[in-house]
């Protein structure tokens, strides 16, 4: 077999000549062939392309379960354990969300994932004037440990892994979770789950912040330090590209900014005096899975490769567990359309498949109605079944990295990797990610990409089926959506007032004073916050105490 690179390159040239001879008869469609992120891509890749980008089997690909983990972090991948099917849920009161959690567990879901409402995400109680109209709308309302206990009532905390998507006041919510587990007598090593706790991406993209950047990052490092010592199986930070992508970033920007955020937490933790191998194994990641099938697969593979090398070479990590990028993924909310919403089922299935072929460890599939409202039980079920069909029927879970070695996929992986590394280099030159975020660099890059994409849609250079092409006159919506009314707000506030009436308020005051002192003296806040929430200090009381020391973050209205 003539498989040396030179021969292949020659054969390819010959083929290209024959190709151009046919294009007069079969011309290409008059569009620019690029990925969703507008990266120009080739029609075909051959082994000489890989040679040209310097691809090396042993160095760049290797084997599953081994450095640099391009092919996945487990040796036997999904043959050993399927990815965790984890549907993000949370709405209305803790009681209502608890019912959804139980439904999902009964239907075969293997982990929980909690969505909090806007007031909770911003560190306000349900009875705050700032919470007006927002209680229970985008997630569940949690103002005290009493709400937390209601939320997880009847759920075996030692057996289920729980993910909590919260960042600004994450340290307080985590304190409530730890305190609850302690009250229930769950051994600390059995407390398993993930706190999002990625504050940098809040300033970059999701915009639910409390304090200025420096003290906010300090709180994150406090949770890493405390968790490493006391809750060895808790993932302290879920470094998140999801929101960065949803805010309009390209795949490369998502990858680069997320990894740069992760690097900032690693550097800050090392500065705190921790050994990298002590805490790095508990860092996890969370990426978007968007529409462009191969670009997404390449992104996940490149992510693992870059992180492994960074951890080993730059930070001197010695434990393979520190090198592995373990990631959750969620299908792209922004890709869903309110127009012809049934089409969303198909988008989600394609995206989920890309996530699985990209080797993710955990997956959330969006529901078809999520662009209209929070999902109904029925819509959530279709989304979960989509994962189960992929896992049990499609056969893809039989293989470790089934697309590894594909000329195209390896070429794209390398390209995405190189472009992400170029961004990381730029951020290094700015003095690291914290500086870059303070200067608004990633924010501006994402804003430009979002605007560019919108312009492409307007010019129909990019197509959203049912939105800018193949539109149809639509009848009334084909399904019901979930509607949260404002009575939740009233009921939750009444519950909170009853709690405040019956708790020991002198003790609360005392606890909050201890939190304040810890903040002022720059101590780790975790122990004092755990104590405060145990005695029914509310979320806002703790956050206001911290705000009184740290101040609040404000962003100017640039666009």
């Amino acid at each position: 077999m003539a498989n040396d690179i030179k021969t292949i390159a020659e054969k390819r040239k010959e083929w290209e000549a024959r190709l151009s001879a046919t294009t007069s008869k079969f011309p290409e469609r008059p569009v620019r062939f690029s990925t969703l992120s507008d990266m120009e891509v080739p029609l075909l890749c051959t082994p000489d392309d890989l040679e040209n980008v310097g691809f090396d089997f042993e160095r760049d690909l290797g084997f599953p379960g081994e450095f640099p983990y391009t092919r996945g972090v487990q040796y036997n991948m999904y043959r050993g354990k399927l990815w965790t099917m984890r549907q993000f849920a949370g709405f209305s009161s803790p009681t209502e969300t608890n019912k959804r959690f139980k439904l999902l567990l009964e239907q075969g879901q293997t982990g929980l994932s909690t969505a909090f409402d806007m007031p909770t995400l911003m560190g306000y109680d349900c009875d705050s004037p700032k919470a007006m109209g927002e209680v229970g709308k985008c997630g569940v309302s949690v103002s005290s440990i009493e709400d937390m206990e209601e939320l997880f009532e009847g759920i075996p905390l030692g057996d289920v892994t729980t993910s909590m998507t919260i960042n600004g006041p994450a340290i307080v919510i985590l304190a409530m979770y730890y305190a609850m587990a302690e009250k229930r007598g769950v051994p600390r090593e059995k407390v398993k789950g993930t706190l999002q706790n990625d504050i940098l991406k809040e300033y970059i993209a999701q915009k639910e912040w409390l304090f200025p950047i420096a003290p906010a990052v300090k709180c994150v490092i406090d949770t890493i330090e405390y968790g490493t010592k006391h809750y060895p199986n808790w993932n302290t930070v879920s470094i998140s590209g999801y929101h960065i992508r949803e805010a309009g970033a390209t795949a490369v920007q998502e990858l680069a900014f997320t990894l740069a955020d992760g690097m900032a937490y690693v550097e800050e933790s090392i500065k705190r005096g921790m050994d990298v191998d002590e805490f790095a194994p508990r860092l996890s990641f969370f990426f978007d899975v968007h529409n462009d099938f191969f670009e997404e697969i390449a992104k996940f593979r490149a992510a693992r490769r870059i992180w492994a090398r960074m951890m080993k070479d730059r930070y001197g990590a010695k434990s393979p567990k520190s090198w592995m990028l373990r990631t959750h993924a969620q299908t792209a909310g922004v890709s869903l359309t309110a127009q012809q919403p049934m089409n969303n089922v198909v988008r989600v299935a394609i995206q989920a498949m890309a996530g699985v072929l990209g080797g993710v460890n955990s997956l959330h599939t969006n529901s078809m109605d999520e662009t209209l409202a929070l999902p109904t039980d029925e819509a959530v079920m279709v989304a979960l079944r989509t994962q189960q069909v992929i896992a049990e029927e499609s056969g893809v879970a039989n293989y470790a990295d089934p697309l590894g070695g594909s000329y195209l996929v390896e070429y794209l992986t390398k390209k995405v990797e190189d472009e992400a590394l170029a961004y990381i280099k730029k951020i290094d030159e700015m003095g690291g990610m914290i500086k870059a975020v303070e200067n608004g660099y990633p924010q501006a890059e994402i804003g430009n990409s979002a605007y560019h994409f919108q312009r492409q849609l307007e010019k129909k250079e990019k197509v959203m089926v049912g939105v800018n092409r193949y539109q149809a006159e639509e009848k009334k919506r084909a399904f019901d959506t979930l509607y949260i009314d404002r009575s939740v707000e009233k009921r939750q506030a009444e519950r909170l007032h009853a709690l405040k009436a019956k708790r020991d308020s002198a003790k609360v005051k005392q606890c909050l004073a201890v939190v304040k002192r810890a903040a002022e003296q720059n101590e780790n806040l975790m122990p004092s916050i755990i104590e405060a929430v145990k005695h029914y200090s509310t979320l806002q009381e703790v956050c206001d105490t911290l705000r009184s020391v740290y101040g609040e973050y404000r962003e100017e209205g640039k666009f």
């Binding site: 806007m118 007031p119 995400l121 911003m122 306000y124 700032k130 919470a131 007006m132 109209g133 927002e134 709308k137 985008c138 809040e202 999701q206 915009k207 639910e208 949803e246 805010a247 309009g248 922004v334 359309t337 309110a338 127009q339 662009t371 209209l372 409202a373 804003g447 979002a450 605007y451 919108q454 307007e458 959203m464 939105v467 800018n468 919506r477 959506t481 509607y483 949260i484 404002r486 404000r554 962003e555 100017e556 209205g557 640039k558 666009f559």
Partner: protein
Amino acid sequence: MSQTTMTPAQRNRIRVLIAKPGLDGHDRGAKVIARALRDAGFEVIYTGLHQTPEMIIQAAVQEDVHVIGISVLSGAHNALVPEVIKGIRAAGLNDTLVLVGGIIPEEDFEGLKAAGTAMVFTPGTALEDIINYIDKSAPSR
């Protein structure tokens, strides 16, 4: 796509306030709209995030705006939008055109319109349609 009705120079006199009320942090849409309107020739002011209705009312009065575009993706529109409209009308902005954009369930359109919203734009709306709408409907003062 319909024909645009004004030239960028004609739009220059029209001041548009893009507002993000409440705790909602989803600002991708608001920023893209703000930029598109500015590129089309309008004078655009963006409030930034996490504004109370009072802050928005104050900004609207101060800039004497012709148009307010309120962006809400958190579900809090029924509580926040009427507050803003009540406030600007009370402050004498009688003809200011109020537009709402975001994740708004159809069943809420009527209530928002009854409260004084001229138009609700949901995801998938073309930028050009919004520009055309403002061209047609902004007060002529």
